[in-house]
Subunit: 539 residues, 2 copies
Amino acid sequence: MRWWGWGEEGRAPALGPAALSFLADTLEIAPRASPPVALSRVALAPSRLADATLARLREILGDGAVRADHGERVLHAAGKGYPDLVRLRAGSPDGAPDVVVLPGSAAEVAAVLALSARESLAVVPFGGGTSVVGGVAPLAGSHAGVICLDTARLDDVVALDAESRTVTVGAGLRAPALERELARHSLTLGHYPQSFEYVSLGGCAATRSAGQASSGYGAIERMVVGLRMTAPAGELVLAPLPASAAGPSLRQTLVGSEGTLGVITELALRVREAPRELIYEGVFFEDFAAGVQALRELAQHGATPDVARLSDRPETRMSLALAGSGGVRGALGRLYLGARGYRDGCLAIVGFEGEREEVAARRRRALAVMRAHDGLAVGRSPGEAWRHGRFAAPYLRDELLTRGVMVETLETATQWSNLLRLHRAVGEAIERALRDGGTPGLVMCHVSHLYETGASLYFTFVARQREDDPIEQWRAVKRAASDAIVAGGGTITHHHAVGRDHAPWMRDEVGDAGLSALRALKAELDPAGVMNPGKLLDD
Amino acid sequence: MRWWGWGEEGRAPALGPAALSFLADTLEIAPRASPPVALSRVALAPSRLADATLARLREILGDGAVRADHGERVLHAAGKGYPDLVRLRAGSPDGAPDVVVLPGSAAEVAAVLALSARESLAVVPFGGGTSVVGGVAPLAGSHAGVICLDTARLDDVVALDAESRTVTVGAGLRAPALERELARHSLTLGHYPQSFEYVSLGGCAATRSAGQASSGYGAIERMVVGLRMTAPAGELVLAPLPASAAGPSLRQTLVGSEGTLGVITELALRVREAPRELIYEGVFFEDFAAGVQALRELAQHGATPDVARLSDRPETRMSLALAGSGGVRGALGRLYLGARGYRDGCLAIVGFEGEREEVAARRRRALAVMRAHDGLAVGRSPGEAWRHGRFAAPYLRDELLTRGVMVETLETATQWSNLLRLHRAVGEAIERALRDGGTPGLVMCHVSHLYETGASLYFTFVARQREDDPIEQWRAVKRAASDAIVAGGGTITHHHAVGRDHAPWMRDEVGDAGLSALRALKAELDPAGVMNPGKLLDD
């Protein structure tokens, strides 16, 4: 992956001239190109690790698995959040690990953790490195240095139990590699976060990731049936059981622990038969509220699409303006919608996957529900366009950054009865913060990840990047949005995790006693406090 | 509820003459009637509480909510496990609480916990008192006495959010009362454990209860969207969010905590539309393995019945012998099965609930799957018989106890690929232990609670009760079964919880590091260790 952004070199740009002029008109962006600096110009402080420590790491892991060169340190210096990219592109990341290690087994992970505790070195677990909340920031906390523990070599498919529909994998295995392996057996995990192309499965579990198809397949927390975690205090081994009443769920305690308790080394995941039928289509609603009611009924009447996302008006407008990102394209399409009275409507994408007969029955019921809310089915082309571009946003972001545009996403979830209120409150908070910072912008949102009791809200905002202090510009908006989420009764994060960016709001989320409970758990499993300091719990 | 058993006085006996002669023949039971002693003959040690403590409790709660009379102490002396009932009926329970308190608010609960910590008194939370694993045993641990904290007065329906399909209730509310209230709004929780008639919802959550319809509605852990727990260290308040990625799941940590961390005072539960269509029916399989394969495919192909239970041969034979408990009744029915080659087959009960069209579609697919495994649909009468008798087993148990029969159930869950192996291993272990104890018996089992990756196994065994030491007789079998479960890769409990009886196997379930993590959590939330000592964690 590009050290300063997403994807590999040589990918064609996604922003066409129409999109650029739309952005320029809307955001009053002066034409300005800010390409990233050259890799060699990225400034890092020298590694703080003693030679003896490096030598000891090489003894444990072998020479090739201990890397302290400039390139590796830069590659592991940050995740892929907006402030990460702004800093990286400017050649000044917020620190870098002193060394990157790539253990090849749980035993090697344990040895690294033991050394870290002994020498007071922070350990930052690193899977795909795709965190957008500072989850892999190389923070030393009170320690003398930072070891980045890259799980890339823990990438085995350990066992496939097709009868039980479970697969056991090393935590470092990437999602696409797993899907390729499963496809050979006509199986699928069905976990498609936007970061799909690069995420590790251990990272997904550690951060409670939810894929775009989570309405049907469930978030990763529903998929993890067993796991192994190497913590400084010992190894936790949870067998791949379908369910248990044996006390508090340790599975659901380790899932979401974000590297602060230990390193997930292995996972047993529930898989499903690969779908034989896939139908993705677009449905227009006259307004956002009508669409929300329709999605709610789908989720509450056993007709949930596997993918369901409803854009609000600004997002619908934007996606119609941006070619290739899921809109109803072309003058003809817009004319049609206008003629039917949906000119300023809201576009939903619904996707159904599974066996032919089951999909047909569910889809029939779903379309009936949506029609009852004046939903206008506009065919498969918007659905296919969305599917085609479902992983495109991070590439787009790189281009926007190059053009001096701030672009960020954030998300929450709440119960249905609170959804419209929270949508309004958070949207207004973001708009106000942007305006107050002197850079009025566009705020868009979609509902996705349906549950019977509520859903997620996913906000995107774009504005002219302030050249003087883009990080403080971003932070002010992030703070305003998070405060509004907490005040409005949403969760501080539905699927991006807590990391560094949301840690200040954990007290609002779980209260004093909840925080104390999580801290006690950490103190037990990580007595020296070396695991991913500064993340999750705001120390 | 009867202090020595299940249900209220005056219920007609369920064991007919045919059933009795079947049992007598099979178990060589001498006709012996052992009725319970009179309540006045139940021997309790005097209350250990100082008068000043009782006075203080009365100040906090009011006179009527502090009870130390013989009758209340007996009623709260034990749960409803086999050893509990054996001891109670003999008039010698294994201790009793020194006082029973009935707080009316979370603040009153907090005041009781504060007093308990100060005066070193154990607190045993008590909901419906239906634990079958010693969960409400009045153990003092290292403390000076036992306060039984009965949640009966925390029985409000606090809020109904019909739009979000959630209801917020006091933890002491009984399941039937909630269903009555929900029915007024055409809603249902759908949680039907065998103990349905008496369970409190807080108790269900504290023990990870799974209802008989959990294949469709999910176990209680799927229903709890929010909760409040009063712990000695403070109150934990988790909002009714549909999902969150904000760190480890505290919800799933408090669910299943079995009163060892604090008292659940309030719950927000996901509810569903009351089903308009209910179809319960019987399907015969030629053997257990064929039935298991069919159930597995149902769960893995989106055709899961809401209720699904497949009896093995011994259980099928027994249920055909016992009138009114779910069999295909009558000579005609047996003749029919014999003629079709299913004389020694295995009976499955499948139940579908929901909207007419959805039920019809799902049932059609389910029947096709079962037919493909030579399942023979035998109509609705076995299904209706099962539904009619679904809560009858505890009444039956009382009658068997009166006739000198030991009857006990235990359960586990494992992945599909291990299910038949575990079924055999546990069944053999129970049979062997019964034989070794000189009381060969009948061991029966059914598969239920379907998941995509596995299912539960629910064993019932009956044997002649040994008069000399019935508790040791029971303990030997329980130990053998639990050892076999652990050795065979099952969970030590799928839905009965850990309590006192399964605590010795928690190390096998979660390992040393897992146990340490749970203990650390407890030490933080309950620093004086007063909450339900001797349960869950084997101290």
